[in-house]
């Protein structure tokens, strides 16, 4: 079992970083494949024989029952090989009543006549060509019986319940503290349902060889999907080989898997030939998952000097009828600012909507859009600089648990950000700065996001050419996993980066949890480091025992690894030569990581500060982001280049959440109004001005053996709030119902 004190007291090659590969701005390992279009994503893998094409049909009602199906026309359509509905779909493992991300379980497709949400898949057509399959799918006639449905979130608060197993957290006496506070903020913020919009729609290519099923799919969690698929197919886990080597974006939306995976595998078995199934872009909106809407009541009570005496965030959110997912928009506030009286909690409404689940920085992404604007409003009310207000309320220990922070450099982020951005040039009075038709304003917000470590394994192999191969059932969804694993291997074994191969995204490799919750690099990397250390030990043991080695008889613990050479003082040889003599077939070592037994003694997070400049056209209500700066403290950075990209990408997500992104439910149908990328507006290039992310020097030795933390979700946390605060500074208007679109801003301005 790991312990934090071991991590702190034990050195390792990543900490020592002798070759300087850790932290370096290394180009992406798989980058050459991606820029040449030769990285095969799931639908592009060449199967052993020509594939058939599956196209799914989705339900047009939110809740009800299929009463009649006519597939005759579809079956008679040219090239059609198979038409499945719940009436004739193969037997599959039963769906559990409730399920989560980490416990594998069957996910049967086309399981019954029940429709639980608009866009649920109700049929699949497989044909010899994509065109024939698409045409035939449109010929399947399904008749439905509508049931009464509840789909409107804001009119359903009365049905809100405490999320299962949770209770509100109160410290001190919030109501009394708030009542007594001389300065108060009490407002409600709304965030809309949001869609992940990964560029690659979910897709699977599947084939069978005897009882062995091979699937190439697009998911974030390898082992979870593999086990779940096997249980759905009712075959032993080992009979499913799942690969997901290149994933065209995940953001939480591919944490689970969907009918493309199940139906491709089932149809390939039925037809005895490879089958490819993909979601259409329109099907992605309803048929996968989304970030649910929230309504957050934020209350802040402060003394005239700015000291917070009471704070509360109470969030109401929603999930699907059969789900349990809660958007924990209040949680981050428990660790952010000091205040003696505190109340946080959540209420959950179950609705007949598509499945709610995690989307980039679940909790923080939504919650910071409330509290971090409330802090700005409080600063305005107090006549204080919002940076100073935050620094004044900086806690010395975790304000709820009293635990020490593992490390907390929020104040440094705030101060350095303010300096780099030129915050001192800000005019605190709104509406004073003009540039042509634009009113210009600046705003800021703090960023916080939790840090996590999960169990994982990895293996390292050195071959007779001295090449290190890292193997791990991990994914790279654009996060940089390939690259940081290569860096850890190169630094640990003292070989050039060009002598490292990385194999991931394969269920037959040592298991790792996958990508999500910004735990990927720390989790996968720590297991990899352990494997690398074990391989060093194995190499050393062989070297000192090999009479043909110059290192023979030397002290194994003194062996150094550098530039592909192993040495004890001035005795040395090439690593490849040692392996060629002793293990020509290669030498493998395994490694693993477990969360530390004592890690809960510390309050552990990543932090940052956002500074944003926007332009507001007071005539039209249009907002454009001109300049963004984020300063972040997230432990040791493994790769300056990929980490920075994660952070700037997250910051731009913040712009989307503030200004354009949101989906609305038409309560008559229980469907989302925006079903494609022309309706659901993610930022485009022209929406984004200059963006810079600064990473502070930091090591968090209590996080894991490498002292690193995650960056994938920190960038979005708080970024949208900084945009909203900049809008206020530009034009004096507050819109608390996101996104801040021209119609709402005009109403606030008028």
């Amino acid at each position: 079992m790991s312990s934090v004190s071991d991590w702190e007291s034990t050195s390792n090659p990543v900490k020592e970083n002798r070759a300087g590969i850790i932290g370096k701005a290394v180009d992406r390992y798989e980058g050459p494949l991606k820029v040449t279009g030769t990285a095969p994503y799931a639908y592009e893998v060449e199967p052993p024989s020509p594939p058939a094409y599956g196209v799914m049909l989705s339900a047009p009602i939110a809740r009800g029952r299929i009463t009649a199906i006519d597939t005759a026309a579809a079956e008679a359509s040219p090239g059609v090989l198979l038409v499945w509905t719940h009436r004739n779909s193969p037997a599959q493992g039963p769906r559990p009543e409730r399920y989560d991300f980490f416990t594998p379980s069957p996910r049967p497709a086309l399981e019954s006549d029940r429709v639980y949400f608009f866009g649920q898949q109700v049929a699949v057509v497989v044909a010899d060509t994509l065109e024939n399959a698409q045409a035939a799918a449109a010929l399947v006639q399904v008749t439905y019986e509508d049931d009464a449905k509840t789909v409107d979130f804001h009119s359903s608060y009365a049905e809100a319940v405490q999320p299962p197993g949770e209770s509100d957290v109160e410290i001190g006496d919030f109501e009394a503290g708030f009542a007594a506070a001389p300065v108060k903020i009490d407002d409600v913020w709304r965030t809309p349902l949001q869609n992940h919009c990964q560029m690659e729609p979910c897709a699977t290519t599947a084939w069978w060889d005897g009882d062995q099923c091979t699937v190439h799919t697009s998911v974030q969690m390898v082992r979870f999907a593999q086990n779940s698929l096997a249980e759905t197919l009712m075959v032993p886990h080992k009979n499913v080989h799942l690969l997901t080597r290149y994933v065209g974006g995940g953001f939480g939306g591919k944490g689970s898997f969907y009918e493309d995976l199940v139906l491709a595998a089932l149809a390939a078995r039925e037809l005895g030939r490879p089958v490819k199934v993909a979601f259409s872009r329109q099907q992605m909106m309803h048929g996968t998952v989304h970030r649910p809407a929230t309504e957050q009541r934020v209350r802040l009570g402060a003394m005239p000097d700015g000291r917070l005496t009471a704070m509360s965030i109470m969030t109401v959110t929603h999930c699907d009828r059969r789900g349990n997912f809660t958007e924990h928009a209040s949680n981050f506030a428990r660790s952010l600012y000091a205040a003696p009286n505190r109340l946080t909690g959540h209420r959950l409404v179950r609705l007949d909507l598509p499945v709610a689940s995690a989307m980039r920085a679940p909790g923080e992404a939504s919650g910071t859009l409330g509290l971090e604007v409330a802090m700005d409003e409080l600063a305005v009310k107090l006549g204080m600089d919002p940076v100073e207000l935050r620094i004044l309320n900086e806690p010395e220990v975790d304000p709820e648990t009293g635990k020490p922070f593992s490390i907390r450099q929020l104040v440094r982020c705030l101060r350095e950000g303010a300096q780099l951005f030129g915050w001192d040039k800000r005019n605190p009075t709104p509406g004073q700065v003009r540039d042509g038709r634009w009113l210009v304003g600046v705003g800021m917000a703090a960023a916080i996001r939790g840090n996590f470590l999960l169990p994982a394994k990895a293996s390292f192999t050195v071959d007779a050419q001295g090449v290190i191969t890292v193997k791990q059932g991990m994914t790279d969804i654009g996060t940089g996993t390939y690259t940081v694993l290569a860096q850890i291997a190169a630094e640990t074994l003292g070989v050039p980066l060009g002598d490292v191969r990385v194999e991931i995204g394969d269920s037959e490799l040592p298991p790792a949890p996958g990508s999500g919750g910004q735990f990927g690099a720390a989790t996968a990397g720590s297991a990899a480091l352990d494997a690398g250390m074990n391989l060093r030990q194995a190499i050393a043991d062989i070297a000192v025992a090999d009479p043909a080695s110059p290192l023979f008889g030397g002290p194994a613990e003194q062996i150094t690894f550098q530039d592909g050479v192993i040495a004890i003082a001035n005795r040395s040889e090439r690593l490849s030569e040692l392996i060629r003599r002793n293990r020509p077939e290669g030498l493998t070592a395994d490694g693993e990581i477990h969360p530390a037994a004592d890690s809960s003694k510390w309050s552990q997070h990543t932090y940052g500060a956002h500074y944003v400049e926007v332009g507001v056209d007071p005539v039209t209500g249009e907002v454009r982001t001109r300049r963004m700066l984020g300063v972040f403290a997230a432990g040791r950075i493994l790769n300056w280049k990929t980490a920075r990209s994660q952070l700037t990408g997250g910051m731009i997500w913040g712009v989307g959440s503030a200004l354009t992104e949101g989906n609305a439910v038409d309560p008559r149908y229980g469907s989302l109004i925006n079903q494609d990328l022309a309706g659901y507006l993610v930022p485009v290039q022209a929406d984004i001005g200059e963006v810079e992310a600064i990473m502070l020097d930091e090591v968090d030795d209590k996080a894991n053996p490498m002292g690193i933390k995650g960056v994938g979700e920190l960038g979005i946390s708080g970024a949208g709030a900084a945009v909203a605060n900049a809008i206020f500074n530009a034009c004096g208007a507050r819109v608390r119902d996101y996104p801040i679109t021209p119609d709402k801003l005009l109403a606030a301005l008028s």
């Binding site: 494949l33 820029v35 279009g37 992940h196 560029m199 974006g249 654009g478 997250g650 990328l677």
Partner: protein, 168 residues
Amino acid sequence: MKTTITVNGEARELDVDPRTTLLDALRETLGLTGTKKGCDHGQCGACTVLVNGVRINSCLSLAVMHDGDAVTTIEGVGTVGKLSAIQQAFLTEDAFQCGYCTPGQICSALGMLQEVADNWPSQETGDLTAQIRLTDDELRERMSGNICRCSAYPQIVAAIKSVAGELA
């Protein structure tokens, strides 16, 4: 239908279903999967290719419409062993994350730089009668038909700028 398209310099004779889009012909018939399907409706730009040197969305075009045309896909821009300058720039600047929009971004950038060289205006162009200067804002506007959900936008700008001089 019999259709001949010159793809990356090589004449390819196809017998395609009239319904087959140029995108699906490239991906499923010719096995050139570098061109991506992100939305299939002209709303993302992942399928961008050059037809007779001009960038278009290959998802909103039928293969049969391109009989006799010359199509350049990402596979014709460069290879792993011999990256073109813009591919190298995308790699150096980290102008992608998941990589799915990347071939479309690169093909779009090549088409866009030619449009600038040809002095085509954009929404960002102030004086329509003057010679276009590829400012950052011009570049951003002209690349707005390519969505990158990972949001590598600043890095994409940096990558294209780094090669704009030599390519334009």
